[in-house]
């Protein structure tokens, strides 16, 4: 009895394996070599240079710092200017009051003379003015009377006047007093000192009062801490000019005049002339925060700049590192994926090499078969099918499934497949072949159990004998019905030595026997009978189609998109009229 089975081994060396019906998962993608480098290049291109970014941050921060410092300083300067002007006006007001105090005794004296007339004019004047003669007040005072255009002295008190009494200068000064409503004031030298001469006239009565005040030798005057001058340096000038000659009083050394830096000035009416007041601040006039704010902003801004530059630099560096890491990981992942795909592809090719490449040519039979690997994981399963021509119209077939996955499963599969084939070629019945096999497999040794459906058929009569080692029963598809052939379930191979019972039936012409592995019908959380019924229903519309289409249809409709289990399907149609 010669075997007509096509030995798959002959095809293995050339690896001319037919293209898998469904290629899923990795496949033989060439390792994506150019991608990682291109990826790295693009990352490099996109990533900012941390130094340049830090410089940019520094520039922006420094500009902001400078701007805010400048603005704060401007605000402070403006406030200082305004405060200085306000305080200078206060000084002017104080001076106006002081001038009134100077003027008051002179006008009082004239009032007294106008009331009292010529009677007792001398004593009344002396009595009045005695109160105003002193170091800090007038040093000298005198009363004159003009009658018919001639001046005559009436009385005098205090020291000798700096302007000689009756001299030309004095007479000219007194004359000019008559042309002014207010008093006339002049600086008069006496030795190396100066005095201020005041003259006030009453044109109605003809009386004239003349008085002199001292100016201290160095023209300096201390400032009371609580006075309006306390925050200011000042210089008082007699007249509109700010010359040393016209200087009246100051609180600073003469050498540091005129006042420099921030100054303010105003004038106060002073008799027939004016007092010019020039001030400069002794210290910061506004709130101390206003003065310090620019410095605070400057230091704070510089610190913030430092921090921002440092953090920015580190952030960009870290980001760059992360991007580089991502590129590396992506690169590695792609390499692993490629290797994974290659390994998986190798396993699938090994599996396919063990499956029949060409079915035996038996005229009465139409045979179609497919093996589909699981989509998940690199490990392949141990599903297989086999068609064996036994000669003299007889044929045998096997659909089997080794538990577990991986190369070990495939090895057990090969063992089971070729052992069964040997017994079947020898002429053993399916039940006997399985019984002999059951003694050669032990799960405790190889770690797997194997289920198998074994059949022997007569191509001439359509008679089929089936035995099962725990394998799902095959579906018999006829024009009118789809029913599962009841095959007594024996122990799977590997579970221990066992005996098997067979079932025998005769196909009707055109009937198709569909053998399959559990991957086609099994779903998690579902009774296997539900899956079996689904298969029967699915095959209804294709019950008269060519067997190739039946197999494809079953896989297309029933194989889950993320199937982890592999599937083998074998369809045998008996058509004796062929």
């Amino acid at each position: 009895m010669a075997s007509t089975e096509t030995r798959p081994g002959t095809n293995v060396p050339t690896m001319r394996v037919p293209a898998p019906p469904e290629r899923t998962g990795g496949g033989t993608r060439p390792p994506a070599e150019p991608e990682p480098s291109a990826l790295n290049a693009s990352h490099r291109h996109r990533a900012r240079n941390p130094r340049r970014a830090a410089a940019l941050i520094a520039t922006v921060c420094l500009l902001l710092t400078a701007a805010s410092t400048w603005a704060a300083a401007r605000v402070d300067q403006g406030a200082e200017d305004r405060l200085l002007q306000v305080q200078t006006k206060q000084v002017a007001a104080v001076l106006s009051t002081a001038i009134l105090v100077i003027q008051q005794p002179l006008s009082t004296a004239l009032d007294v003379q106008r009331v009292s007339g010529s009677t007792g004019e001398g004593p009344a004047f002396k009595q009045l003015m005695a109160r105003y003669i002193g170091d800090d007040q007038f040093v000298s005072a005198s009363l004159w009377r003009r009658t018919d255009g001639r001046l005559a002295p009436v009385a005098s008190i205090g020291v000798a006047p700096a302007l000689p009494r009756g001299g030309a200068a004095a007479r000219s000064l007194v004359s000019s007093a008559f042309s002014h409503k207010t008093f006339v004031v002049r600086a008069v030298d006496i030795g190396d000192r100066q005095r201020l001469a005041f003259v006030m006239a009453d044109p109605a009565s003809g009386y004239v009062v003349y008085a002199e005040r001292s100016i201290s030798a160095n023209r300096r005057s201390r400032v009371d801490s609580d006075s309006a001058f306390s925050d200011l340096h000042y210089a008082l000038y007699l007249g509109p000019e700010r010359t040393l000659k016209s200087l009246s009083t100051t609180d600073v050394a003469l050498s540091s005049l005129p006042l420099s830096g921030r100054t303010a000035s105003t004038t106060v009416p002073f008799g027939d002339t004016v007092l010019t007041v020039v001030t400069s601040p002794r210290r910061h006039l506004g709130a101390s925060l206003g003065q310090r704010l620019p410095l605070i902003l400057l230091i704070g801004g510089l610190l913030l700049t430092l921090i921002a530059v440092r953090s920015g630099y580190q952030l960009i560096r870290r980001r760059q590192d992360a991007e580089n890491d991502t590129a590396t990981i992506t690169d590695l992942y792609e390499r692993v994926d490629a290797l994974f795909g290659e390994q998986r592809d190798l396993f699938v090719r090994l599996q396919r090499a063990l499956l029949p490449q060409v079915n035996p040519d038996i005229p009465e039979l139409e045979i179609a078969s497919q093996y589909v690997a699981g989509t998940q994981g690199v490990d392949i399963g141990g599903d297989w099918y086999s068609i064996i021509g036994l000669g003299e119209d007889h044929f045998a077939f096997v659909v089997g499934d080794v538990s577990g996955r991986g190369v070990d499963s495939v090895a057990v599969m090969a063992h089971a497949r070729f052992t069964l084939r040997a017994y079947l070629i020898d002429g053993d019945s399916p039940a006997l072949a399985l019984e002999k096999c059951s003694r050669q497999f032990d799960i405790s040794v190889d770690g797997h159990i194997t289920t198998a459906l074994v059949g022997v058929g007569n191509a001439r009569t359509g008679e089929i004998t089936l035995a099962s080692a725990g394998h799902p029963t095959p579906l018999l598809i006829t024009a009118g019905a789809r029913e599962f052939v009841q095959v007594p379930a024996g122990l799977p191979l590997g579970a221990g030595a066992a005996t098997y019972r067979s079932t025998r039936f005769t196909m009707t012409p055109g009937a198709t026997l569909l053998g399959f592995t559990d991957g086609l019908v099994e779903r998690r959380g579902e009774d296997i009978d539900v899956g079996m019924q689904r298969l029967a229903d699915t095959m209804t519309p294709v019950s008269a189609s060519p067997v190739e289409e039946m197999v494809s249809h079953a896989l297309r409709k029933l194989r889950p998109p993320t199937a982890s289990d592999d599937i083998a399907v074998l369809a045998i149609r008996w058509d004796p009229k062929r």
Binding site: D401, S403, G404, R405, D442, I443, S444, G447, H448, I449, T451, S468, A469, G470, H471, P472, T473, A489, G490, L491, P492, G494, A495, G496, A498, D518, E522, R524, G525, E526, D527, I528, D529, D565
Partner: protein
């Protein structure tokens, strides 16, 4: 989430291995280890509680066979307890129901 497998040993020499969830190629080793521990600790009656099992694949069935074989070597009994209908049906289809019937379960 409950543990996949737990064991409970009693003084009378019985040891219960309770399995929950899916017994498949990913979990089968854990199941086998637990059952082996039961036998190693001297259990003479190993009860496998399948009450919480939602799915069992051929690797899981293989594990049941291995546990039965291991127990036989050591003269211990293996009993399947609270077998869900789907699992029972699968044991029938695969011919394994007979392998456990003799142990007096169900």
């Amino acid at each position: 989430m409950a543990e996949f497998v737990s064991t409970e040993t009693r003084d009378d020499g019985s040891c219960t291995v309770s399995v929950t969830g899916e017994v498949d190629i990913a979990t089968v080793d854990e199941f086998l280890d637990a059952a082996s521990c039961c036998l190693d600790s001297g259990g003479t009656n190993v009860v496998i509680d399948l009450g919480g099992v939602t799915f069992i694949d051929s690797s899981g069935l293989g594990a049941l066979v291995r546990i039965r074989n291991l127990a036989r070597e050591r003269g211990a009994d293996v009993t399947l307890d609270r077998v869900p209908d789907a699992v029972a049906r699968l044991l029938e289809v695969t011919g394994l129901a007979a392998a456990f019937v003799g142990d007096g379960n169900r």
